[in-house]
């Protein structure tokens, strides 16, 4: 069948260029329709609707009316909101630094030769791929107030007589959130950096070694600059995901103790779904938008800047 069509067309070879691009625009728009339709209905419309909710008095089962910036006024005075805002910032900032450093170390290690390499690589990716609800539950069980296995090890190795009250105090609970997030997020950085490392030509290192460069100099002068594009992309994705992280804080602490470990997402959920104040909840989650936009704009500027 293929040959017969080919033979027919050869006769029309006169203007292949014209044929090439004749319907390009029409086809281009046509192919975009399904994706754009979904994004318009389920992203653009809810987003605009969310802005309306945030300036309305909507509650569950009630559409509400315009109340100006009343919901945002509430935010200014609500101490839990302020705390969750700060928690969101520190949660993102601290975990990002750790994930970046540990991810780089992981990538450099995986780029070496050692036994059982394939197994280790697949194993190290596990925390990132399995549903975070499920892994966070395991961590919650490991941090259990009475049956914590971590504490069992701490006590039996005589590091401390009572272990740590992981989820019972504000500071340790926040630290626990960060530990689990770093555990979960590092493999993503590690694998992306590994992929980046492998695009760096080995000749560069060989040339540097011939010129007498130390390992550290090779890392500073070759590895880091050439990893930069991957690094920025990973940073961008990870920051957005961490800022908007709901699952992990919800499952591990859900604000406990005393609403002190809420992040914006869990607090918006508690107010909007738990409390039924949808307008206020929408106003809380909308705060994420300018924050995310600023970060993304920042990364974009760096990304597009020539070396």
């Amino acid at each position: 069948m293929a040959t017969s069509t080919r033979r027919v067309v050869i006769g029309r070879l006169a203007g292949p260029r014209v044929r090439l691009f004749a319907h390009e625009a029409r086809l281009g728009y046509l192919l975009l329709i399904p994706a754009l339709l979904l994004l318009l209905v389920f992203v653009a419309y809810p987003f605009l609707f969310g802005i309306w909710l945030s300036v309305s008095s909507a509650q569950i089962g009630e559409n509400g009316h315009f109340i100006g910036l009343g919901n945002f006024q509430f935010e200014r005075t609500d101490s839990v909101f302020i705390e969750s805002f700060l928690n969101t910032l520190s949660y993102t900032a601290v975990t990002t630094v750790f994930k970046l450093v540990l991810g780089l170390v992981m990538a450099l290690l995986l780029n070496q030769v050692f036994p059982a390499q394939r197994f280790v690589r697949a194993a190290l990716l596990l925390p990132w791929i399995i549903p975070s609800v499920l892994s966070t539950l395991a961590w919650r069980w490991m941090f259990d107030p009475t049956f914590s296995v971590v504490n069992w090890v701490i006590i039996h190795s005589h590091l401390s007589a009572n272990g740590v009250d992981w989820l019972g105090k504000t500071a340790t609970a926040l630290t626990s959130l960060m530990i689990v997030n770093v555990w979960r997020g590092t493999p993503f950085y590690g694998i992306a950096f590994l992929a980046g490392l492998q695009t760096i030509p080995v000749d560069l290192y060989e040339a540097a070694r011939v010129d007498g460069a130390s390992r550290w100099q090779q890392f500073r002068r070759i590895t880091v600059p050439l990893l930069r594009p991957v690094l920025l992309v990973v940073l961008l994705l990870s920051t957005i995901l961490t800022f908007g992280d709901f699952t992990l804080p919800y499952v591990l602490t859900n604000g406990a103790p005393y609403n002190s470990t809420h992040v914006l997402s869990t607090w918006a959920f508690a107010i909007g779904v738990g409390g039924g104040y949808i307008g206020v909840g929408a106003a809380i989650s909308l705060v994420l938008f300018p924050l995310l936009s600023a970060i993304v704009a920042g990364v974009m500027v760096i990304l597009r800047r020539p070396e």
Binding site: L30, L38, A122, V234, I240, F246
Partner: protein, 296 residues
């Protein structure tokens, strides 16, 4: 076996430095790798060991918790016969497969269009798709609940199947655009000259060549929809329509009472599908990610 041809380069080249001593490598490579592996895998070991303990052993302070004395499958039996876990698994699979297929289809078409066809506004639309990243589910779930209510889709699989693509399409499109750009235009033009239509050229030439990228986009989409929690938590309230993450959190935790044995059994079982997927295709995934990330 056809897939073998497209298989990406095995990762982890031999980059052994000259003059390496075993002791040096021990401290620089082996021990750190062992630490990473241990920290990564311990929670899974803990899941597994907890899931096969009896309740009395679980709550016994005097024994070493790191090992199990009388392994039994009671927790698994309870999970299967006393809860709706099987339902939840089927729901999760259904939703994940359907939303992955929809996302892939939309992303292949959009990615091809944005990367390969020349028309006015392509660049702006490309950025527009990317910018939807800025409105993650966390920002949208409250108004989205209204939209789902307006469409009468609460407790309906469609509520998840239609909303999951919103956070999958931007990434998949972006990744595939990188892939499509990497395929030489000449191949496609040759097909066009040979009389193929634009659509035929896309289906017969470009898409097969982009298969590794499509596979890694698909894995990414499946993983995210398999583990998604927030939308499922808000939209699915009937116990028989819940997905695994929601069912586990809502029904195996009663107030302050945690059924840890069953919870860990469920956690382990719920992790297996994605773990299997990646153990087979991890190399594709990494290769696909780089192609998209570096060129995109």
């Amino acid at each position: 076996m056809a897939a073998r041809v497209a298989r990406p380069r095995r990762l982890g080249p031999a980059r052994r430095q000259v003059g390496d001593r075993f002791a040096g490598r021990l401290f620089r490579v082996y021990i750190p790798v062992a630490i990473f592996t241990f920290v990564t895998l311990f929670p899974f070991y803990w899941m597994a060991i907890t899931s096969i303990k009896s309740n009395s052993e679980l709550l016994d302070h005097t024994k070493n918790p790191l090992f199990v004395l009388q392994p039994n499958l009671q927790n698994y039996a309870d999970l299967f016969f006393k809860t709706n876990f099987i339902h939840w698994t089927i729901n999760s699979a259904l939703v994940a497969i359907a939303s992955t297929s929809i996302s892939l289809l939309c992303s292949i078409l959009a990615g091809y269009s944005l990367a390969r066809l020349r028309y006015r506004g392509a660049n702006a639309i490309g950025w527009g798709v990317f910018v939807t990243y800025l409105v993650p589910p966390t920002l949208l779930f409250l108004p989205m609940a209204f939209v789902i209510a307006q469409l009468h889709l609460f407790n309906n699989y469609l509520s998840l199947i239609l909303t999951y693509p919103t956070f999958l399409i931007p990434f998949c499109t972006w990744l595939l655009m990188g892939y499509f750009r990497g395929i030489p235009r000449e191949l496609e033009e040759a097909a066009l000259v040979d009389g193929a239509s634009r659509v035929q050229a896309m289906v017969r030439v470009v898409i097969p060549l982009a298969l590794p990228g499509i596979l890694s986009a698909g894995m990414f989409a499946f993983t995210l929809s398999w583990g998604e929690f927030l939308y499922a938590l808000v939209f699915m309230n009937d116990t028989v329509v819940k997905t695994v993450p929601v069912g586990v959190v809502n029904e195996l935790i009663k107030g302050d009472e945690f059924f840890w044995g069953e919870l860990m059994a469920a956690a382990l079982l719920g992790s297996i599908p994605v773990a299997l997927l990646y153990s087979f295709f991890v190399d594709y995934f990494v290769a696909g990610m780089t192609a998209g990330a570096v060129k995109g």
